[in-house]
Amino acid sequence: MSERLAVRKTYKLFIGGAFPRSESGRSYAVTSSKGDFLANAAKASRKDARDAVAAARKAFPGWSSATPYNRGQILYRVAEMLEGRRAQFVAEVVDADGVTAKKAGELVDAAVDRLVWYAGWSDKIGAIRGAANPVAGPYFNLSTVEPTGVVAVVAPPTGPLLGLVSVIAPVIVTGNTCVVVASERAPLPSITLAEVLATSDLPGGVVNILTGSAGEIAPWLAGHMDVNAVDLTGADADVAVRCEELAAENLKRVLRPPLDRIDWLADPGTDRMTAFLETKTVWHPIGV
């Protein structure tokens, strides 16, 4: 009897809840931190970015109007699914980052905990960012937060799982939808994460993941008139500057954290959530 053939996974994009190949038909070789060939990943084009934005826009009304409680439940579900695939993610993080299995295990655990932590914020962020404002008149004056809209995220090149989860979760927990450009060097965990998202009750299109060159795709997202905010965490300095200029055209919100290495294991704080919120203030007459 002949030896069994290996069944290898095809790493594709994640757009609108489906896993299409790049419209361009391109792919590129992904290597481990030691330079060994791991797999071919799809190389997304500007048209994939356009399709992803369309999917994110389509998903926005449903996701943003879901109750915060429901969004929290779904994020918690993502954490559960991620935990169930722990061994697979540990192996992928070892390949991608060259860390020991023990360290990789800690990073995967931290990613699961990060999701749970953000899931808990879903119905509490309004309490710290909203307000009942004192005004000089017979009115209730209430400020509440609302999601910004479609957010384009350039994921960090380091921390292929923890870094990725740490940029996606704060964006979607408040009701935004996003298009994520995964780390070019280590994109494989992002597609495995997409498989987790696809099986977690997360509506299709809330998170869309593109693999490929951030320098090629990010400017198209930053210039896209139907994108409301960009997170340039993972963008090189020159790409980030170009994206900021393009983002000015329709006054996108831009998050560009300092260039120094971010410690993804540290307490993230609420800044990444509040960066993509809009405040709505309502004046309501006090009844007689």
Binding site: W220, M225, D226, V227, L246, N250
Partner: protein
Amino acid sequence: MVGLETVRLVGDAGEVSTTTAPFAEVASSNAALRAFLHGLPGVDRVGADARAAMLGTRSIKTTAKAKAIDLAISMVDLTTLEGADTPGKVRAMCAKAVHPDPTDPSVPRVAAVCVYPDLVATAVRALDGSGVKVASVATAFPSGRSSLDVKVADTALAVAAGAAEIDMVIDRGAFLSGDYLKVFEEITAIKAACGPAGGAQEGEHSAHLKVILETGELATYDNVRRASWLAMLAGADFIKTSTGKVQPAATLPVTLVMLEAVRDFRLRTGRVVGVKPAGGIRTTKDAIKYLVLVNETAGADWLTPDLFRLGASTLLNDLLMQRQKMATGRYAGPDYFTLD
């Protein structure tokens, strides 16, 4: 290919005539009409689907795409046919018809606006002197279920209010039960209600007649071909796929069959009839597929708003967004265009 053989099979007059005279006796009785329509060659359904799908794969880029977008905009019949239509909404739509993108005067105006008869007067006033025509649906749209008197009165109302084009629906019940003569006579009666042929006389105008076949209810491509011929024989200036109220609405293969019919009809009679797919055309990509289909089936002669229209409401914004993308190099967003 489907349709080409039609030319030889229909009638036997060798010369192209300038009237429908070769078919004068066709409508003499229900039996004659049935014999003629059922004598039309059948449509190869698989072949028509495959041909339409193949033409839909053409890649239209850069300057050709820019030209196609402007042509498609100029062919749009901007439509609002809702029970909730108000004069204000119609006026807003008319403003958009004249200046589809107020920030860019180089955008061509659309061909026409399409409204219910009671809103024709509002549209005519709003479009006065702009060159955009006013089309009105009539004849108990969208079901067509009423008496001929009511349908004629409905048409007369729209024409009197100043409609330049009438979009009538055929009686699908009569068509499907084989009463072709009833359908034929209704179209002729509505055509008469549209006013005298050959242009307006003093103080009186004639409207172009578009005949809606409602292909989604005709079940087969053979029926689409028969209904197309029936409408053209009865004097339609345009044949239109759908009301937009029934799914499926316009599809590429159905439009292909209708384009073959108008092409063959011109070869037989010399009379040129237009085609209007309506309903379900939402993206620029779809619109360009239709333009390719027109060019490859009926020919470039039909690539004019006088002979080909796109009945749509949401399509226009997508055309404008694509146009802006080509002009600015950045993807456009719907936030910067009107809500329809």
